[in-house]
């Protein structure tokens, strides 16, 4: 089975810097991290590989060359190969353009049985890139999965948890699944994989490597949306109330809070 996992390198939200002139986020290599929801998707791919030994996992990222150092971390946990789609003409691409470019790169890389993505990226949070990739590739997709199980070759079961209800879907492969960010946590690296990562260089694709590529669909010009302005959000100090004695109404209030956040 060939699995592809789309993994974005995002700027650590605690260290984000904004360029007001280009209205883009500065991608300083030191402050990059692999998008947590995408790592959750990668963990599901690795779990499938734990069970089925002939599984090959490829990761696909899109971004500047600074992303390479973070991509190596994907080899450290057991990915077989990593690809970086990197081209200056992609700068300023919105979700629509990104999905198009990633879909073309996936077509170039070959036939994958399963494509996994995180539900959204920390910086964009649109959640629309995964379904758009699936639409471009003309394959079925299920969004916001909380679990993935291989039923048989070329058929999987996908769970989606909404509050206290679990929806189960079965889908034939190839398919694209986007995964909820806290549905799994990426495992620790292994020493032998870390040694392998030392000398590993990701395969880098440029737009010229892609076939039948419509350049008018990418970059700031080809995007259908653009960032108008950034607003810094300020949080007021949280105020605490201390209750000496707990009454029934308070217990109900606490129970309500717990239910809402579970």
């Amino acid at each position: 089975m060939k699995i592809l996992v789309c993994i974005k390198q995002v700027v650590n939200p605690e260290k984000v810097e904004y360029n007001p002139e280009t209205r883009t986020i500065k991608r300083n290599a030191q402050h990059l991290m692999n998008n947590p929801a995408d790592l959750s998707a990668l963990e599901f791919a690795l779990r499938i590989k734990d069970v089925y030994k002939d599984v090959h996992i490829t990761t696909l990222s899109m971004g500047p060359s600074e992303c390479e150092s973070k991509i190596k971390e994907l080899i450290e946990v057991g990915c077989d190969s990593c690809v970086l789609l990197s081209d200056k003409r992609l700068a300023g691409s919105d979700a629509y353009s990104t999905a198009y470019a990633l879909a073309k790169a996936i077509e170039k890389l070959g036939n994958f049985d399963l494509i996994l993505c995180g539900e959204s990226s920390l910086d964009g949070e649109t959640s629309i890139v995964p379904p758009q990739i699936a639409e471009y590739l003309n394959i079925p997709h299920i969004a916001f999965a909380s679990n993935i199980k291989v039923l048989e070759l070329q058929r999987i079961e996908v769970e989606r948890k909404v509050k206290n209800t679990v929806f189960k879907f079965e889908v034939n492969l190839p398919a694209l699944i986007s995964v909820k960010k806290e549905s799994s946590y990426l495992r620790l690296p292994k020493l032998s994989f870390m040694i392998k990562a030392l000398s590993y260089t990701p395969q880098v694709l440029s737009l010229d490597d892609l076939e039948n590529f419509d350049f008018s669909k990418v970059g700031a010009e080809g995007s259908k949306t653009s960032v108008d302005r950034f607003v810094e959000q300020c949080f007021e100090d949280v105020k605490c109330e201390i209750y000496e004695e707990i009454e029934d109404a308070q217990i109900e209030c606490i129970a309500d809070l717990v239910t809402r956040f579970l």
Partner: protein, 381 residues
Amino acid sequence: MEYFLSEEQKIIKKLAKRISDEYVSKVAIKYDKEGIFPRDILDLLAYTELTGVYIPKEYGGFGGGVMEMCLVVEELSRNCAGVAVSYAATALGAYPIILYGKEEQKKKYLPKIAKGELIAAFALTEADAGSDVSSIKTTAEKKGDYYILNGSKHWITNGGEADVYVVFAVTDKSKGPRGISAFIVEKEYEGFYCGKKEDKMGIRASSTTELIFEDCKVHKENLLGREGTGFIVAMKTFDRTRPGVAAMAVGIAQGAYEHAIRYAKERVQFGQPLSSFQAIQHMLADMYINIEAARAMLYSTCRMIDSGAKDFSKESSACKVFASDVAMKVTTDAVQIMGGNGYVKDYPVEKMMRDAKVTQIFEGANQIQRNIIASEIIKEY
């Protein structure tokens, strides 16, 4: 300080640091308080392949040496020396097999130790034979194809938790130290029991127990090396594992130092942080100097051993003595800087001070180490 570790050694240190900071730090106080053996952490070390860093490649390990083992021990000790010693005790049990095991013994045990499937232990000390190793009383009497072991061992790290024990017993009382032999004993062997578990001052996450042998049958195939070479097996093993105690001491000291600095920068007295007072600054500077000196000595000794040097008892003992004395001094000073908060169990330095003490005691008390060093330097000049 830059220690010019190889890229692979840097990776080992980084991985061990991550496990220490993300996992060990979260359980250190609980495991210390409740005396919980850190099997879950050992499982993580096994998954990440750090259990095999010092095992030769041909037996499924990474192929590193004492340095690689010490890097893991040092990083684990930054958060919990009890966890670190549980890891290091397996190395203490594995080294006699690496050094003196027959090919079949190596093939049988080392790959499983490398994978973390087996925990090992080293059983030498007895109630009346600590630093005076040659006074052990446990006997191994040969009967046909078996040796029959009788006696007891005390203060055995990983006791009750280990799957494989390297046990030292007297095979010929008339020959003194030359009458001691080493055996591999598996936990299921008939006549082998685990006795009392010690309630220790520090390294409380580790298991320290008594071991009892009552007509315990050990096949002659389990003899390590030749009969009568047990004393040499023990001493040559200690030469390689004493730096492990030094690594533990450096790690404990580093952990306490980091807590003390953070505290000194946050705690305000007389309207300014503690770190602005010269009395505190000098203490922090001394901590840094001592830790770096101990680490430099430790790494130099490890490099010497791993380079294939033949005789390194003096260097091995010296780094153990120096680092353990540094750990005791640094942790005591960390408690002093943190005052009342250092003396209570809410902050980890109280535990670190208790943990540091044992590094001056086990694998040969520092007084005995100084005897070894003195004997060597007097011979040299």
